[in-house]
């Protein structure tokens, strides 16, 4: 769909992994995605979760969803996943 064409993979960077014992990065990533997309099933949206050494995730988002994520508490930055070059 046209809406799908407008979506791209964004990286949502959330800084260090919080040290509180009960914190579950993957759960938070899923909750954030559900909240901004309004979709209960986000399997096709979540591309990667970063949870071992830092906190964040990569997801397929529309531009408006990107803006909403960027304004959420706990998010440092949101930026497109770009192609880098071997040098």
């Amino acid at each position: 769909s046209h809406q799908d064409e407008d979506k791209q993979v964004y990286i949502v960077y959330m800084g260090a992994v919080p040290s509180n014992a009960g914190y579950m990065p993957s759960s938070q990533h899923i909750n954030i995605l559900r909240e901004v997309t309004g979709e209960s099933s986000i399997e096709n949206r979540l591309v990667r979760s970063y949870r071992r050494s830092f906190n964040g995730f990569a997801a397929t988002l529309s531009d408006s969803e990107r803006e909403r994520v960027a304004n959420m508490e706990g998010v440092v930055s949101v930026f497109p996943s770009r192609k880098l070059q071997l040098q």
Binding site: I11, A16, Y50, S53, L84, Q85, Q87
Partner: protein, 629 residues
């Protein structure tokens, strides 16, 4: 690597090593994967992985780790090129090359079809490798790269080498390598990154974060040449030509005279579809650009002579090719147009001594740093021209799979990708002497012990080489180091307008961004080099505040000396105090460097070098002042 380590005085069997500690070092390579069957990664003589290793071998289909390659992961499952096998196996060759340069075994009699013959080896041949594959023929996407950092840090690698980057520098919060490297630094892991291949234009360096060690590329004293024989005259061109035409002389034809379909402009560069097979078959063709060799080969030519605007680099081609400088090329053009029956031969390449090394590669990206103008980037230079190292048997040596069916275990490549793992190997080597040193101490050691490299008549060349050329053995005993902690870098981010909220998220602690920190100048980060961008309109008088830590001898006195650099007569440099008396190991002493001068013109940076010496150690820091804009 059959020449590069020796060139830096890092001789096999003549270099002090700590084998038991080297065997515990793990180099994390974020790249295009690895070719596990290469002799460079044979695990004969290696014991089980170090106890600290927390990673795994998740290399996918047809991939087995061993006691040399102790870990492998791949991130090309989603969005990878269809048909590319799902594994950490290297289908490009690049990751195998960089892995072997950083930490490959010593392999005797390595060569590319006899060229560059010698012992190929990494900086730490006894160390282990963990391969993180983020690149496939479709590219290296940021989201994969961050997954690789996420895993490598947690897996317990000691050093990360990443020979990839964007075309331009990005703000830190949007730069995946800066983000990954920051969290690596926070866990005591140094990240070494290629500076980029967009030189010689200025402001092209893409690796700019101060917690990364950014590497530019130089040549070594070995260069590959390809001779072209015209009648009785020999012309020396560049290329790594493994094809032996046995000295045979072939008819020479100019591309512009071998086309009935294209206009002269397209024909002379041998554009695709332009050459007439019947006019070039069995001949050697003259093409105005290197890309023309593909068309010549397709049309049945025996070989190609091309004009090359990069005269400092020899590349591998998929057919017999000699790349000539403009002057040399014009000589051949003159020959072909003035001779009735022009004949030519392209000889197999040979190597010769390059007297002018080390010189920064023309392709190596230059500063200034566009994100923090007061942090000099790149940081250091290492060999990145014509490096022979291990390769994937799934990739063609020229990188041109459509035309090149050859397969080789060792291949010659050039780029800052090749210089980066040299520095990573050296950093790993330092860790064997100083296992507890922080990333900034390792980085400082490499930078302050570098060989001096001089600015050329081109004043902007001070933005090319950083602190100078890597010298691994000297780096192991630096005398003094400039340390900077995670907290120092958080304070720098505060000065770059990051909010307390963001800083707390990034640091994972209760960091604050006070007004005092926000007012701190980035140039006062305790960095091993000193740079400042000043207004071009007015005189300047600025200071750098630095603190050094004594890692040399307990009782020592270091005296400061300032060595003039490019245009330094226009700047006045004062060091206060100009002597530092150390009484114990790890003692810290602070000093200020005051630099003053008249208004500078844009594009005319001034440079000098601060040298601290106790008679045994020489601790060098470049000072570069330049006008904004």
């Amino acid at each position: 690597t059959t020449a590069s380590w020796d060139f830096m005085g890092f001789k096999e069997n003549k270099t002090k090593r700590v084998p038991n500690l080297e065997s515990d070092i793990i180099v994390g390579v974020i790249d295009s994967g690895i070719w596990p069957e290469s002799a460079s990664f044979d695990d004969n003589g290696f014991g089980p992985p170090p106890k600290k290793w927390k990673g795994e071998c998740d290399g996918g289909q047809n991939f087995t780790c061993n006691n040399k390659i102790i870990g492998a992961r791949y991130y090309t499952r989603n969005g990878g090129i269809i048909g590319t096998p799902q594994s950490a196996r290297d289908h490009i060759g690049h990751g195998t090359h960089t892995s072997s340069t950083a930490a490959g075994n010593s392999v005797k009699d390595a060569s590319f079809y006899g060229l560059g013959l010698g012992t190929a080896r990494g900086g730490v041949p006894a160390a282990r490798i963990a391969a993180y594959k983020v690149c496939d023929p479709g590219g290296c996407f940021s989201d994969r790269l961050l997954s690789a950092f996420d895993d490598a840090i947690a897996d317990g690698v000691d050093v990360i080498t990443i020979s990839a980057g964007a075309d331009l520098a990005a703000r830190f919060e949007q730069d995946p390598i800066a983000i990954g490297a920051f969290h690596a630094m926070a866990k005591g892991i140094l990240t070494v990154n290629s500076a980029g291949n967009n030189g010689p234009s200025t402001s092209t360096v893409s690796s700019v974060a101060p917690w990364i060690l950014s590497v530019s590329a130089s040549n070594t004293n070995r260069a590959f040449f390809t001779k072209v024989v015209l009648g009785n005259e020999k012309i020396v061109g560049r290329s790594v030509n493994s094809y032996d035409l046995k000295g045979g002389k072939y008819d020479l034809v100019y591309g512009k005279s071998a086309s009935s379909r294209c206009d002269e402009g397209s024909a002379r560069i041998c554009s695709s579809g332009c050459l007439d097979k019947k006019l070039v078959k069995g001949k050697i063709v003259l093409c105005d650009t290197p890309l023309g060799s593909h068309e010549a080969e397709w049309a049945g030519a025996v070989g190609t002579i091309v004009k090359n605007d990069r005269s400092d680099v020899s590349n591998v081609f998929s057919s017999p090719v000699a790349a000539l400088s403009e002057d040399q090329y014009e000589t051949v053009v003159s020959y072909v147009t003035s001779t009735e029956d022009p004949k030519v031969s392209i000889l197999k390449s040979d190597t010769s001594m390059n007297e002018t090394a080390p010189v920064v590669a023309s392709f190596s990206s230059r500063g200034p740093n566009t994100i923090i103008p007061d942090i000099l980037k790149p940081d250091v230079t290492a060999p990145g021209i014509e490096i022979l190292a291990a390769y994937s048997l799934d990739a063609s040596p020229s990188g041109d799979a459509a035309h090149d069916n050859r397969r080789a275990e060792y291949v010659v490549l050039s780029g800052t990708s090749m210089s980066c793992p040299h520095v990573a190997g050296a950093a790993a080597y330092l860790k064997t002497f100083h296992p507890d040193w922080s990333p900034s101490m390792i980085k400082s050691s490499i930078m302050t012990t570098a060989w001096p490299m001089n600015a050329t008549e081109d004043a902007e060349s001070v933005f090319a080489f950083g602190s100078g050329h890597l010298k691994p053995t000297a780096a192991a005993d630096p005398g003094l180091v400039y340390e900077s902690t995670k907290a120092d870098h958080i304070a720098l981010l505060c000065a770059l307008n990051f909010t307390t909220t963001s800083l707390r998220l990034i640091s994972g602690d209760n960091s604050t961004c006070t007004k005092e920190q926000a007012d701190t100048l980035p140039r006062n980060l305790n960095y091993p080099s000193m740079a400042a961008a000043v207004s071009s309109q007015t005189e300047f008088n600025l200071t750098f505040v630095r603190t050094v830590t004594n890692v040399g001898m307990a009782n020592s006195t270091y005296k400061a000396n300032v060595v003039e650099g490019a245009g330094s007569s226009k700047i006045d440099v004062k060091v206060e105090p100009d002597a530092l008396s150390m009484k114990s190991m790890y003692e810290k002493k602070s000093f200020t460097v005051t630099v003053s001068g008249k208004a500078l013109k844009p594009l005319e940076p001034m440079s000098a070098t601060l040298v601290w010496s106790d008679g045994t150690h020489t601790v060098r820091s470049p000072i570069v002042i330049y006008a904004k804009g």
